[in-house]
Amino acid sequence: MMSHAAYVIASYAVAAATVAGLILWVLTDGRARRRELQQLEAAGIRRRSAAAPAGERE
């Protein structure tokens, strides 16, 4: 039989771990996507709306 405090600590620990995981996922996902966009930009691939030189448009 666990003490009451152990249940409270376990609850807060699970909550902290889940929220931390969620925040970490959002941050790393954002960083990876931003890096991909920069790589595409560096390769000269730009969105059509982002001022493509005249003549390249379809």
Partner: protein
């Protein structure tokens, strides 16, 4: 210009993903700071207030359990509104919003289930019972997982958007079932004690930290949701740029 048409224009301005990204960049640091601040106050109150005369220390589990459960339902409601946005108004960000919300909702539903279990063991003497409240929240958790799986199974967002929007709306029937399950059926879970027509029946000593924590969790949700929406817009841009690059490469090969 009348006030309502101005409001409509402001809203449709948000439909432009580029505008949304600019807004997200501006809003996110403030929202994150505010979330941290309210969490600091909420956590301090959660441990500074007294324990319950019957439940003792375990009453503190309530301050994470109830806000998680509240978010699990609010997140699904946000998804349902987004699904309407996809089907009725064809708002370009509606599907982005629904898709970004699903993993966040799944996490908070998971938290509500686990903390509920950890509270149930010392207070009810059991980790789990298949009563109406617990079962309907478990079904909500499965629905979140199903929607995430569906989103991942379909590569093309424009095709998966309408399918998942219809599924989200069908699943919305579960939300009132969860809310009223404790009144319609005889459950081990207690009936509502905060959001009731005749006002809260819970002592202010517990209500204060509970409300601050609920606000903190809600702010956390919107911070994460806006950030996840921004990620989803970037993900779609990367995909469309890669398609564009592949098309261009194909054209160069065809024309000598």
């Amino acid at each position: 210009m009348s006030e309502s048409s101005l409001a409509i224009r402001k809203f449709s301005d948000l439909a432009n993903p580029t505008r949304f990204l600019a807004l997200a960049d501006r809003v996110l640091p403030w929202l994150a700071a505010l979330t941290l601040l309210v969490f600091a106050v909420g956590l301090w109150l959660s441990f500074a207030t007294e324990g319950d005369y019957q439940q003792g220390e375990t009453v503190r589990i309530m301050y994470v359990h109830v806000p998680s459960a509240w978010l699990s339902m609010m997140c699904y409601t946000v998804m349902a509104i987004s699904a309407l946005g996809t089907l009725v108004w064809r708002h370009p960000l509606a599907d982005v919003s629904a898709r970004a919300a699903a993993p966040i909702g799944a996490c908070f539903t998971f938290l509500a289930l686990v903390t509920g279990s950890l509270w149930g063991k010392p207070m009810w003497g059991t980790w789990w019972v298949w009563d109406a409240r617990l079962t309907s929240v478990f079904v909500l958790f499965l629905m979140y997982l199903g929607l995430i799986a569906l989103n991942r199974a379909m590569d093309d967002p424009s095709r998966s958007a309408r399918v998942s929007a219809v599924l989200i709306l069908v699943g919305f029937v579960n939300i009132p079932i969860i809310k009223f399950s404790v009144e319609w059926w005889n459950t081990l879970h207690q009936p509502a004690s905060v959001i009731r027509l005749d006002g809260p029946t819970i002592d202010p000593e517990f209500l204060r930290p509970l409300i601050v924590m609920a606000i903190a969790f809600t702010l956390l949700f919107f911070t994460l949701h806006i950030a996840a929406m921004r990620n989803e817009i970037w993900r779609r841009r990367v995909a469309s740029l890669r398609r564009q690059a592949a098309r261009n490469a194909g054209r160069e090969q065809l024309s000598p």
